[in-house]
Symmetry: D3
Subunit: 161 residues, 6 copies
């Protein structure tokens, strides 16, 4: 464990200085699960529910959210984002929609928050478009899977189980 | 299960017409857990980590996010939000920080997405301020707990277990 | 012709006072044409180009733009928007994509600018997604078709030809 | 005609990766016409209508819009914009106000959308400030005139007629 | 002196609940001074400097800022703003530009922050447009002059001197 | 005194071209005073008023405002901001809260407006959180203290008195 980086010696929040950090290629990958239940998920993917647009709208929402991170998360730096990609994959048995967000840049700081936020907002959009049917949907296990670039180099999630 | 509400008869996304809906007092409550691990959570709350600001910054981020929902979630309506309240409670045994967001309005449509988004962005901000220490932190069980008001009336989460 | 409404007696821009205006149901409908050319338009609609997403992304962009009018057009009032609907119809002979945006509210001022801006941003998004193929695409005849509500009542475009 | 660039192999929208693109000086020039009619245009320019502010407000709106493109057009990249210039020229015979927007940067991707959006929002602002007098005003021929820089080099509109 | 209203019993920031407040007509007036120095102020107003646009741009900036208060000041409520008016008056002897911002609404909470923020951003814009000439310009005495409406009624600044 | 930089030869506002400017490390420091009065300032700092959060919220507001300058001040360029730091110091005798904002970047143009805006919005937030107690609070002497970097080099305020 290293020391926290967003507070100064008196515990006050600061936007940390990245002037001395190198501009390197950076990538981050985050994932999240939307627990729709098997029936609602099948309706989405079997065209009995207008699936196309739900995922299309959620994809656009996730991409746009990645570009708004510095206005949402108070101590994040504005970044030049080079690519955002959102992918969806269904697990019908578990009734779970898996969402992955991948973000790339070449800048002084990483894009972990951009990937986490893109995945989160895509999931919230799926929730929004299904909540008229079922308000109990849970959004689970939002987490970073991978990041590369910068001084700390590559980090990859260890499987917990 | 009712029919989906955000798409027209051809499956195209629309921002549904709420003109005919009544202006009623509405409330929504959402919650989420940030799995920090016991050590990091204790450091936060034992002043060994500058806890105050982490929660203060996350609280402000959550409140501000509730006001930005219509710019984040594509098919949400702009709303006049009357109150936002974010509360944090630690579970040291489980190493989990529990976040609740409560939002109120008197408008034509509910504030479920405002509560869900406020909780989500508060959790993402905690993640952002701790990720220098531990990137593996998981944000879990983002979910609606309660909503009241409007035509569909009161909804309360049934305990799953 | 009435007098201009956005300037005071000295020609200075003001955001006009709508305090005295009545809250009434209001609607506006605007349209625009994107001159893609027959070949590109057919590719879009014949699935030889991934049409679905182009229109889906443009639809989302148009809906979201309707909610941002007060931050784009300096003297527009913030409004509570009740519905936004974007529709696309192709004219293959003319190679033209016709876009219509319909916006509703119940407020003190009309939603003409919301409909005009939604149509405009949907068209710009189509341009953005096709400009890698053809930069010469022209966006033509952005215009109000219809508005209702408020003191001035209903207005409908007279056919020019 | 090249292939479309904003969708992946499955037709899903992506924000394309520009990491490998070179940072080069880039410029784009777009234009649009606002068909005010001779009388309204003369009033604007003959000081019988408070012209100065209409054009001043529209100019500011266009400049500010160029800086918001990544929040309006879903798949556009955030860019560091180096200059924006909006110019107006009247054609009294045709009753048409011609608007040009020129944008420059040195970045990994072009500023065509910034120029197109700046011209469009400047025109919408003129419409907004005149619509109290005449709702029938048409915004016509929004189009790219010129772009330079990047791998594809210089592009200049061919005169159609 | 009453108790502070933006914090709960534990000193935590909250966006206070205005659900129970009445919708009444409300107005606020704020003012600020920009100490340009006599020479720079005269150049501005004597057309030796292109005055028109400086004040026009600052006026637009102030009006637009009034509409963004809920995204700038964390605990402010989103409001439906009914009018914004910015006026400038020079005091050549003192070399001071006086700016007043007046805002009106009919809502559940007052527009003091909208008036204060509009005046502040107009002043910052004047500074921005003059700082190439003189960086030492001071922005002074930003203050509320008057407010009316709501439960607390009318408040008017007492002359200090 | 040099010539004004934000207008072209006809006095029209432009966003000046910074393409030719060098990317250099730049810093700016701005300050402002909030005249709370001794009693209110002591209550803030003596924990009789919930001081912590007032300053915490104002600090977050100031940091976030620095990242929004290009959307607030019309002719400012979007910048990659590398650090923002807000500090508060009380002068109990004078009843004045002193706020300093320091901003750093490495870009083509300076961060004076980012520092000035961050200080201004932090002060406005303090005002917002105290105005329920005292509406007469004055925000005074917003000014640049220091800037470095770029072609014009270092500038430091001369003490006036």
């Amino acid at each position: 464990m290293n020391s926290l980086s967003h507070v100064d010696e008196n515990g006050r929040a600061v936007m940390v200085d990245v002037s001395e950090k190198a501009v390197t290629a950076r990538q981050a990958l985050a994932s999240v699960k939307v627990l729709l239940g098997e029936r609602l998920l099948r309706l989405l993917y079997d065209k009995a529910l207008p699936k196309g647009d739900t995922l299309a709208v959620a994809r656009v929402a996730g991409i746009m959210a990645a570009k708004k991170v510095d206005t949402l998360i108070p101590l994040c730096h504005p970044l030049s984002i080079h690519s955002v990609e959102i992918t969806f994959s269904p697990d019908f048995e578990k009734g779970s929609l898996h969402i992955e967000a991948s973000v790339r840049t070449a800048d002084r700081t990483g894009v972990e928050m951009e990937a986490m936020t893109a995945a989160s907002v895509a999931a919230l959009t799926v929730y929004d478009m299904c909540k008229g049917v079922e308000k109990g949907i849970i959004i689970n296990e939002l987490r970073l899977e991978y990041k590369s670039g910068g001084k700390s180099g590559t980090w990859r999630r260890q499987e917990e189980r």
